[in-house]
Every structure is written in C-alpha cells, then in structure tokens.
Symmetry: C2
Subunit: 349 residues, 2 copies
C-alpha cells in the first residue's frame, strides 16, 4: 500500500541518461560526455544527444552524480543563533545575500540550517559528512561552539564569519572577519576628536570575538588618549535592539555624565537612542552615538546614525568564494582574511 522505493517514483518515470542515449542513438558514455562539456565528442553526436535530452526533458539525477563524483555541489550555511535573531538583524541578511550570489555564480546550492541546540548541531555534522554538503559556512559562532572543530575533523571544509580560536586555526578552519578593533578605534578616536571625554561603549556578547574585538578597539583609543576605560563605561548586549536599550538605560543610571556612546551594532545603537530619548538626552548635543555595521536602518533613522561601515555583503561573498576555491582544490592565497572598515559620519556624532 505504501509507495516504497520503486524505480518509477515519479508519475511518469523521469528520463534517465540511458534513455537519452537510446533516443540519440549513442551509448551512455558518449551521452554523458556530450552533456558535460562535450569534449571528445563528434559534432553530430553532440547535437543528437542535446536534442534528445531536450526532447525528453532530461534532468541529471543529482544523487547519482553525487555518488559517482563524490560531491554534491551544495554547501551549508549554518547559523548558530535563533532564527528570530537571524531575521531581525540585517547583518545576516547581507551575509546571506553575498553568499547566495557568489554560490549561484559557481553553480552551487545553498542549504540553510540552524543549530541552536546540541541536537541540531549533531544533525548538521551528520548531514554534512553524509556527503550531502561539500563544505560549510558558519555564522555567528559563539566561543564555546564545538561545531567548527568537529566539522573540520570530519573532513568538511569550513569557512566561518569572525575569527576563530587558535585551536580552530590549527585544525584548518578558515575565516573572514572585519577589522573590528580597527573600526572601533576609529570610531572612538573620532568621538575624541569632536571633544567627547566620557565615552562609554555598549558591546556585543563577551563570548564572541566580534564582541571582544570591538571592546578592545574602544579600550585602545581611550588609553592612547590618556583616558581610563573604566568598567562602569562598559556594558554588554546581545546585538538586539532591546538589549541596546537596556544597556544604555543602565549606563545612564550609573554614569549620568556620559557624553558619547560607541555601540557595537546599529540595531543596539537604535535601542540605545530610544533610552536616551526617554531620559531626555539630546543626540548628539548631549550624547553622541556611533554604531557599527552601517545597516540600512542606520541611514533611515532620525537623526541618521553615524556608524562604522563593514561591507557585510563582502564578507558573505568572500566566505563563499574561499569555500568554493577550497572545494575545487584551487589555490587560495589567504585562509584568514580581514576586511577593512570605515567610518561613516552622519548626524549623531
């Protein structure tokens, strides 16, 4: 009663290479050659095969090709984050856009996966090593996530967004990151240049390198200017708008005389500005604000948000390109790239 794995699964039994060859009057071998590049095939045979394939509406069975070739032409993008945040944060949107466009150009498919719990993490590994995935792109990796390491150990090429640990580097994990510390430094230096002195920061999660690096930049800029990066001036959020608001509120409570905030993401910056407005602080007159990301919302905000631009789409594009090269065994100059950032001055600072 149940439809078991019968050969004729589809309603009409899909055309196979064998049929195409038969119609074209050649052997399976030449048909195959004709369909893939057509090297070593006579023009006549090539035309015949192409016509036959077209007539029959032939589509190669990827599973079979996968089995024969040992590759699936698809790569996974795994997001170690709740899907809620994935969609809320424009950062991901841009990365996905970059990845997708680069992958499409290379004729590969994007398989999106979330891995929030350990169960899902295990499933990702299972799926990837089952040869369903030729490689994996990792996004939003937190410090203690074993995924990069276990994937590489299983022989899967991995490129992640953001710097990894030394262990991961040695294991062969590749990555691309923005110059987070540099960007943060530039932002804070700018704040100093326009005369601010009590410069706080709302940072990202402490268990992510992006989070820590931007704090480091803030710290450096302050120290270089002979200022003390007091602990009270440092707050952590999780990159969400709400967390930015909460952090800023706490900050204003404890450090009322703050005159500038460097916020580690535009979304959090927008949240922080809500807190400022509620407290009656004018931006930038009383408190200057600089964000990070140059998200679309930053430009749209009223007033337009000064921010550190990291070309996120580039990051995605770069990750995808590196992975594809690695899969194809093509030479790769750098296995760990750092993309530049630049300050975009608008009205909030």
């Amino acid at each position: 009663m149940r439809n078991v794995g019968s050969p004729q699964a589809g309603p009409a039994g899909r055309p196979t290479l064998e049929m195409v060859a038969a119609v074209a009057g050649v052997s399976r071998g030449t048909a195959s050659r004709a369909l893939n590049g057509g090297a070593n095939v006579s023009p006549a045979a090539l035309a015949a095969v192409r016509r036959a394939a077209d007539e029959l509406g032939y589509r190669p069975n990827m599973a079979a090709r996968s089995l024969a070739l040992g590759r699936s032409d698809s790569v996974g993008l795994v997001v170690s984050e709740t899907d809620e945040r994935l969609f809320a944060d424009p950062f991901f949107a841009a990365v996905v856009r970059g990845v997708h466009s680069e992958l499409t150009a290379a004729g590969m498919q994007l398989v999106l996966t979330f891995s929030q719990c350990d169960e899902e993490r295990a499933q990702v590994v299972r799926f990837a090593v089952g040869r369903h995935l030729d490689g994996v792109l990792l996004i939003s990796v937190h410090g203690d996530d074993p995924l990069p390491y276990s994937l590489v150990r299983a022989g899967i090429p991995v490129v992640m967004a953001g710097r990894g640990t030394e262990q991961e580097r040695r294991a062969g994990v590749w990555w691309v990151e923005a110059d987070n510390a540099g960007g943060a430094r530039t932002a804070v230096q700018y704040l100093l240049a326009i005369g601010r002195r009590r410069i706080a920061t709302v940072a990202g999660p402490a268990d992510m390198t992006v989070g820590r690096d931007r704090v480091e930049g803030w710290r450096q800029a302050l120290s270089s200017a002979g200022l003390e990066p007091e602990p009270a001036l440092l707050r952590h959020g999780d990159f969400s708008e709400l967390s930015g608001r909460i952090a800023a509120e706490a900050l204003l409570e404890e450090v009322p005389d703050v005159d500038a905030i460097f916020v580690a993401s535009d979304l959090m910056a927008i949240g922080a500005m809500q807190a400022l407005r509620v407290r009656g602080r004018r931006v930038p007159d009383d408190v200057a604000v600089v964000g990070f990301d140059n998200a679309p919302a930053a430009a749209r905000h009223l007033p337009p948000l000064t921010t550190v631009d990291q070309s996120v789409e580039q990051i995605g594009r770069c990750m995808a390109r590196m992975l594809v090269h690695r899969i194809d065994g093509r030479p790769v100059t750098e296995q760990h790239v750092v993309l530049p950032t630049r300050l975009v001055v608008r009205e909030t600072a």
Copy 2:
C-alpha cells in the same frame, strides 16, 4: 586494492556500510537492517553492528541512500522575492521558523532558495527534479509566477503560502492561507463600530491573492455598512515600510478627511503612521490605524498597533506538515487550508 582498505578510514576514505559489516562480522544486508530500525535482526547481530558503526564513526552516505530510495529527505523553501525583503519582513521569519521546526521534527532538511529572476527559477526546477528535493514550499508567489505549475508538472509535490489559481489547484498544487478577507472585514467592521466613516486602505500588491483578498474584505465591510469603497480610498503598496509611508502620503493628499486606515501589513502600517505624524495627524484621535500580521514590531510600536493576527508560524508549520505527509504518502484530509485570523485591539484604533 587501490583504495585505502584499512578499517580506520583517515581523512580520505570514510567508513562505508561494507566496513561496518566486516567489523561486525555480518553481511552488508544485516548491517543495513540493523542500522535502520533493526527489524528482523538478532539482538546479538544488532549489538555488534551498532558497536562497529560507533567505533568506526560510520555515517551513511546520503547520496547513495538517496539513489537507492529515490528520496533525499530534504525539501526546498523557495522565496520568490528579493532576499532584501525576505529578511526585512517579519512575516518570512515566522514562516521559516514554523517550517524549520516542523521539518526538523520529521528528520528532513530545509534547503533555502531564492528565485528572483527567470534564470534562478529555472535552476530551482532543475535542482528539484534532479531528485535533490522531495518537495517544495513556495512563499510570496506573485500572480504570474509559473513556478508552482512547472514544479507540479515535473512531479514535485508543492505546497505554497497563499491561495493559488484555479489552474494550479487542478494541477495539484496545495496551499495554506490565512482568512485574509475575513480578517480584513473584521478590522474594518471594528473601525466602523468605533464610529469611523472615511475608512481608507493601504493594500498589498495587486498581483498577489493576499493583496486582493484583504482589499475584498475592506470592500465588503464598507458595502455592508452602506458605504462606498471609493477608488480614491484604495492605495497599493508592496508590503514594505517605505511603500506604506508613500501610500499614506498620497492618500492624505487626495483624501484629507480620512479618519481611519486599514493597512494590509504591520510594516506598511508603521510606514503609514510615519506619514501621519509628519502631517500632524494624531493616532488614533484624528486617524485610526489597523495593521495586519501581528508582527513583533506592532506590539513594540508607540503607540502599540491594533492589528489582525494571523499566526504566521502556524502557516509555516502547517505547510511543512502537509508537504511531509504528502511525500510520505500519508493521508491528508485537506489540500487547501484556511487558517483563522483574529483582531488584536491595542491603542491605534
């Protein structure tokens, strides 16, 4: 013996079922049975196989299984929309969440794909019929999109979000939609009940059933109340925030005495309220506003937005469930389901 025949497969050769069987001292057949449910296998053999698989770190090759079984255990979610909008609109986030959770429960993988241009559309079909996909979920389908039809014609099970055409229904396309007309009607009736008389609407795209159905609900409610659904009261947007603002601006220009707007999405409603604020109209005192979706942003907005709730996550979950049932050949009671909506009254109306 060119291949590395050692049981301990290094980075090159992954352990195969054959090796597991060898180590366990049984045949490939029993090893296979043991690993899939273990029916008709002696306890001793079962244990031996399991231990061997565990020791070798065996992972079944999905391509091979796919080829043998005729299914890939993965389904595609194709979004006929720019990735920009995909991520901007919380609607998609919720659908993806629902789909993903249901799929994970069924042990299937989600393959995300965009199909913005014809080239990508063709690629989706190619990919799906290549047996890489057991079925396809369609989101944000516009009126003239040939994708659902061509997929079904190619023998791929398809479930889409939103009602399809009569042709698609006959072809065997399934779908799940919210009660859009009903929800719109309820919203407008509520507006009438609180005394509004010049009730405009900012609708969705005219080439989408969701867009048209919500207009229809608005129309019905007005007519039933003996009011005329004047063309000047109807504006179209594309569900984006910006389009909502533009539509509302044009509306206020032409119909200055409007006292309520039913907006076909929360995002557009938020845009519309920006326009109202700029024009100095108070909400809800001068103009009442009702949105659609009950997006997170609706509740967060100041003032909180009255809206029509459609449990979007449910839609995704339902779509996925229907597709999985169909793939498994399990009985399905309904091929076209309509999910209820309900009005959530907050402060804007």
